[in-house]
Amino acid sequence: MSQVLPAEGGLRRVIGDGESLPDGEVEGLGDAELLALYRDLVLLRTYDERSVVYHRQGRIGTYAIFWNHEAMQAGAAFALEERDWIFPSYRESAIGLVRGMPASTVLSWWRGHPAGWWNPEDSNVASICVPIGTHVPHAVGFAWGSKLKGEDRVAIAFFGDGATSEGAFHEGATFAGVTKAPAILFCNNNQWAISTPLAEQTAAPTLADKAIGYGMPGLRVDGCDVLAVYEATRDAVERARAGEGPTFIEAVTYRSAPHATADDPSIYIDPERVEEARESECVGRYERYLVRAGVLTEETIESVKNEALELMRAGIAEAEAEPPADPGLVFEHAYADPPATLADDLAELRRILGG
């Protein structure tokens, strides 16, 4: 039996604070898994922190920061098999890293370079979805379609608290309920949609309360507790595989960085609340947990971090070494069987660029 403890506000929690809150544990996770999960967390954290630096250095473009969202991404992904599909939003741009996607690929995406546009089938990670909530029906359709094919593949869609207001979320969730699709609707509730706080986003008591309207269970979990996230997602995956249909997971965190590099939250956010969230951020929390549990040593911490840094260094170098994109790519890939006019247009463009 796993040991899941209640946290404030009824959130599932596993990790304690080393003082008054006791540590729990998740059944089935041995030291190797616990360490692998730590590696994923550090990888994502490192990706994020380096990206902010690269942005400042002008090496990548606008970037959507996911600092303190790593536990949700790594924890949920850890509960999946490789054959399961992940449908990320811009907030989970780097989630492919935990599936072995090269950092250079994701960096290239933020560099606006075609090398950043990956083949979803390579690591079963769908393309980054920029318009809010619109990938929820994709994940549901994929899950449903896999089920119809008799394949055992679960799909998870990641989206934010704001996304739950969009019609696309609603319609996708409705389809999921009716088709009993093996889908997981994973809501990163960081309590802000750019400058709009949750209270102005919805009057629902909690986001998980929306689940009943789709005939699916709604779980609430501490989004900064990677083990609780893992555990909840694993439950959802089990339901999905058992043919019991979709699950909505609300993982609660607090956005403790700007929405994106272009954003200045000082206009709207409460800096004290941010400070508080930064103090209990998810990577350090898990690190301390592992240290308390005797699973992690200072040495390993350092080597894991160095490894991640090294991966990022290599990643940005690789991304920057990409040859400039051929302008002719403008005409590629839109159609499998393109209208003839595109060839004329390409010829015109080449003539003009050549001349």
Binding site: W85, P114, W117, W118, N119, P120, E121, D122, A126, S127, P131, T134, V136, P137, H138, A139, V140, G141, F142, A143, W144, G145, S146, L148, K149, E151, R153, A155, G167, A168, H170, E171, G172, T174, F175, V178, E332, H333, A334, Y335, A336, D337, P339, A340, T341
Partner: protein
């Protein structure tokens, strides 16, 4: 070959294609047990099972959005939108995803989905059962658009759309679902996208149209007989457009009237006129005239005939051209 109504030809295409390719799914509102409000999908659920032809919740963006996911899972979904004006909630999925997803995967994944729907007016229906939304579709990159005017083309273009590796929107002229009747080839029948049909040969003026406007153009050509020899060009496929057929006809006649049911501004007739203004300017013996729906909401049905392009308006335009 048997005679079939246009809607029967659509139904036939779905049967033949689903039989041929087990990865084809049909989904939409009321397409299953009822077989569609126009019975275009009648019999599919019985024949192929509820796993391959199913009723969805009432949510068009959800229908199209899940169809994108179904493609990713390896299916070829054929989506029905119940009516033209009820397809608009799905425009966001169409523009931001259906038209872009293949590109987004750098061509690694295909989205061979088909969106079919009845379109157009003249059927004495309540509000919003009459739209001609082709501009919204044809302007959207990554999406192809076909509009049949005859039963045989309704079957053949739908089959081509279903087989096409890209997303295709097929608009079916509901006005002629049960009035157009024609011999339709049995079994597999494919009319390639991008090939216009010369519905009638003529020498003096080309009437360019598609879908429900073809029978109208033909009646206008009849009305002008003796006065002028009209060529009627059925575009059939709006994207890809058969520019060769268009330019060949206009270079022969030197006169063009473009007929479209949709509102005028930035309608597809504008595109046709623009192609002519660019590529046939020295062939033209007069202006390119457009006969279209007006730039106002489609009206109450008691006066819808005044809104729709009429034989009289087409004839009038042709006469003005011939007099110029």
């Amino acid at each position: 070959m048997a005679e079939k109504l246009l809607v029967e030809a659509v139904n036939d295409a779905l049967h033949v294609e689903m039989e041929r390719d087990a990865s084809i799914l049909v989904l939409g509102e009321d397409v299953g047990k009822l077989g569609g409000v126009f019975r275009a999908t009648a019999g599919l659920q019985e024949r192929f099972g509820a796993d391959r032809c199913f009723d969805t919740p009432l949510a068009e963006a959800g229908i199209l959005g899940t169809a994108v996911g179904l493609c990713m899972a390896g299916w070829r979904p054929v989506v029905e939108m119940q009516y033209d004006a009820f397809s608009y909630p799905a425009l966001d999925q169409l523009i931001n995803h259906v038209g872009r997803y293949r590109w987004r995967t750098r061509g690694a994944m295909s989205f061979p989905l088909t969106i079919r729907m009845p379109y157009g007016g003249g059927v004495r229906a309540p509000e919003l059962h009459d739209d001609s939304p082709e501009t919204y579709y044809v302007h959207t990159p990554g999406v192809k658009v076909a509009i049949p005017s005859t039963p045989a083309d309704a079957k053949g273009l739908l089959a081509a759309a279903i087989r096409d590796p890209d997303p295709v929107v097929v608009l079916e002229p509901k006005l002629h679902y049960r009035t157009a009747k024609q011999e339709v080839p049995e079994g597999e029948h494919v009319v390639p996208l991008g090939e216009a049909r010369l519905a009638r040969e003529g020498t003096d003026v080309t009437l360019i149209a598609y879908g429900a406007m073809i029978p109208l153009a033909e009646r206008a050509a009849d009305a002008l007989e003796g006065e002028a020899s009209c060529e009627v060009l059925d575009l059939r496929s709006l994207k890809p457009l058969d520019e060769d057929a268009l330019l060949a006809s206009v270079s022969k006649t030197g006169r063009a009237v473009v007929v479209q049911e949709a509102p005028r501004v930035a309608g597809f007739a504008a595109e046709v006129a623009a192609v002519l203004a660019e590529k046939a300017i020295f062939d033209l013996q007069g202006p390119v005239l457009r006969v279209t729906g007006y730039d106002v909401p489609y009206p109450y049905w008691q006066i819808e005939d005044a809104y729709m392009p009429s034989v009289e308006r087409v004839v009038d335009a042709a006469r003005r051209l011939l007099a110029a």
